[in-house]
């Protein structure tokens, strides 16, 4: 009897109580997530508060050096963005349209409800033509136009109330408060992007804006293919971001293709026009792509940096800047292969990399990889490639300061101190007012004081 009572108690504790709590949670969420009924939007107190917060955030981005400020690119983004706006968009209350690049190697873009649209440098570096950029901007314009941020924010607040109530119910059942803790994570995830319906709406309405602005709408689907390219080993499940994963990219390509079919056969744009758009995009985005290569290296995305630098060089092979950028990527790649190996992509390999990354800093990780014989061999090859590219850049432009600087760092890593000092000296001669003059002079002093042959490399930059 006692045994049966215990069994029933255990069943109650382990299955029935948490089960009912979970059921309640699901019910509440389904109520909270029910498709919103769209009424004409009017600003409420909460929306105005959000608008004010967003304006502050916008200012913060600007002040903290996160906005890429190259004037030519800023003008270009503005020109493409404005070509997609209709007269009604310009009348929107509390919206000031701004199209800007954000200094981040992530492949993303997002819109703030106040009309600021940010495209990450990581996405700009991946795109191949102006129509693709227009597709991204059109999508984000629709988010602003249809007030998606405000609607999503209102919905998130409702969800949060539901979760709090459920948390209390669950607390009464189990006394653990697990739902409240887990719901925080859930809520964050759901707030990280717009709802599936809103994303679809932005895609489909955005698509309609492309052709009148003389862009090929098919390029919108092509953008998703470019975004799916993965150069690094994916160690963790990606968080959904505003533009990349919500809904799944494959679904987006599918419904966009259907929408294109429904739009019917349209006369293709003249080849000169699309070609011109491609060339214009690639030439305007060459500098930002190089800038993004540097950001990717800093973030430890060495393979991504290499792939993007290669792409840039393919567009303009005789550019000393592009050669230097690729050389930097090879030098940073060091003891790694250009693409992930099968071993790295296996479950075991990923586990080991995760462990290594968890425990070590980027410099320590580099040292650990370079300690293996395979790592040493790869390092040698990649450094040789980097040297070749730097020298090609110098051949094209003998006064290319960044090539000399890069050579200095490379020779230092290769333990060739005299050559490093010579390259550093050339760099400071070419660019006497360089921002990193002090850094370079200290490196020269360190190398010279180490008396050449037994020179130790200076601390990594």
């Amino acid at each position: 009897m006692e045994r049966q009572r215990r069994k029933s108690l255990l069943l109650n504790r382990l299955i029935i109580r948490p089960g009912s709590a979970l059921l309640c949670l699901l019910c509440a969420l389904s109520v909270a997530q029910a498709a919103p009924q769209r009424e004409p939007f009017s600003f409420g107190k909460v929306d105005l508060e959000l608008w004010e917060q967003i304006n502050e955030l916008d200012k913060k981005f600007e002040q903290s050096g996160l906005v890429y400020e190259e004037k030519a690119l800023a003008a270009y983004l503005d020109e493409v963005g404005r070509s997609l706006l209709g007269p009604a968009d310009l009348q929107l209350e509390h919206v000031r349209w701004r199209f800007r690049a954000l200094r981040s190697p992530a492949v993303n873009a997002f819109a703030m409800p106040n009309g600021s649209i940010y495209v990450h440098t990581g996405l700009l570096a991946r795109l191949e033509n102006e129509a693709q950029l227009a597709g991204v901007l059109a999508h984000e314009i629709i988010h602003v136009r249809n007030r998606h941020s405000y609607l999503e924010y209102r919905s998130a607040r409702k969800k949060s109330v539901a979760i709090h109530v459920i948390g209390a119910v669950e607390e009464a059942f189990t006394g653990l408060g697990v739902v409240t803790i887990a719901s925080g994570v859930f809520l964050q995830l759901s707030m990280f992007g717009y709802s599936r319906e809103m994303e679809k709406e932005a895609d489909l309405e955005g698509l309609k804006r492309l052709r009148p602005a003389r862009y090929d709408p098919r390029e919108m689907a092509e953008t998703f293919r470019l975004m799916q390219q993965e150069f690094e080993v994916e160690l963790y499940r990606k968080l959904p971001t505003f533009y990349s994963d919500h809904p799944k990219l494959k679904d987006r390509v599918d419904y966009l293709s259907r929408a294109l079919d429904q739009m019917g056969e349209q006369p293709p744009l003249p080849t000169e026009e699309t070609g011109g758009q491609r060339n214009r995009y690639l030439s305007r985005c060459a500098a930002v792509t190089r800038h993004n290569v540097t950001l990717a290296i800093e973030a430890g995305l060495y393979r991504t940096a290499l792939a993007l630098a290669r792409k840039n060089l393919e567009v303009e092979a005789n550019s000393a800047d592009n050669l230097v950028s690729l050389a930097q990527a090879f030098a940073a790649l060091g003891p790694r292969t250009a693409v992930p190996t099968d071993e790295e992509l296996s479950g075991k390999g990923k586990g080991e990399t995760r462990k290594l990354k968890k425990k070590t800093t980027l410099d320590e990780e580099e040292q650990a990889l370079a300690a293996t014989s395979a790592g040493q061999e790869l390092r040698k090859q990649n450094f040789a490639e980097a040297e070749k590219l730097y020298l090609q850049a110098v051949e094209l432009d003998a006064k290319h300061a960044d090539a000399q600087r890069g050579l200095g760092f490379l020779y230092e890593k290769m333990k060739r101190p005299e050559q490093a000092v010579a390259a550093y000296r050339k760099y400071v001669d070419i660019r006497p007012g360089a921002m990193d003059r002090l850094l370079i002079m200290r490196r020269i002093r360190t190398l010279e004081s180490q008396n050449g042959t037994n020179a130790q490399p200076a601390p990594p930059q």
Binding site: Q53, Q63, G65, K358
Partner: protein, 237 residues
Amino acid sequence: MTIRKVFFTLLTLSFVLPASAAAQRLNPKVKKDHAVRRLVLLPAKVQLVKVGIKGREPMEKETAAATPVIEKVVAQVLQEKKFIVSEDTFRPEKIQDDENLKYAVADLQTKFDQLEAKIAKKSKDIEQGRFTLGDQVLLVNQDDTADAFVFIRAFGQQSTKGKKAFALLTLNPVMTLLSFPMCFVTITVVDARTGEVLAQSQAITAGDVIKETDKALTKPVTSSLKKLPSPSEKTER
């Protein structure tokens, strides 16, 4: 039920309370008679949020107002310890027109955040001099006037009345504890020439950091930097 609640309260307290005592880490280089005298504060990264029944909401306006006050408090505490502190070298309005410097400061802050994630996992290793930002720090120390940079990170929260009432109503100890205002400040001192992390401390306050930033933070910041010795008056770097 009561035992479980007590257990969870103790568990939460064990995470929260010892942090201020345990989190003062010093690199041997600054332990005694050190010559790190001139400190430059990098713009603090502060995040204040309002936790209400309708979720967590950012407080960007309040954050913007509290940030210079937090910087000021840290600067004052360090000045009292005989450091020469410059708190406005990298203020956004000062470096507004210098695009490269603005990027360099932003990149250094990002690099520090990446490193901070590793430090947080094993802050004890600061005592072995394991962590460094590299000589990239020299990009923002162009005239060599700084001995060290100070990175400040702060996170604060304040609950709405509704949230507090709800927490009390449910008798949930964790929720009740978390509904009080609190603020965590991490102060990290980094060598301005080599990039080596020299010291790190954490201050926690249960005061109202939004309304009375200065008052709520001065005491905890002072005690969090207690172990950091004043610079030697004799030696010059």
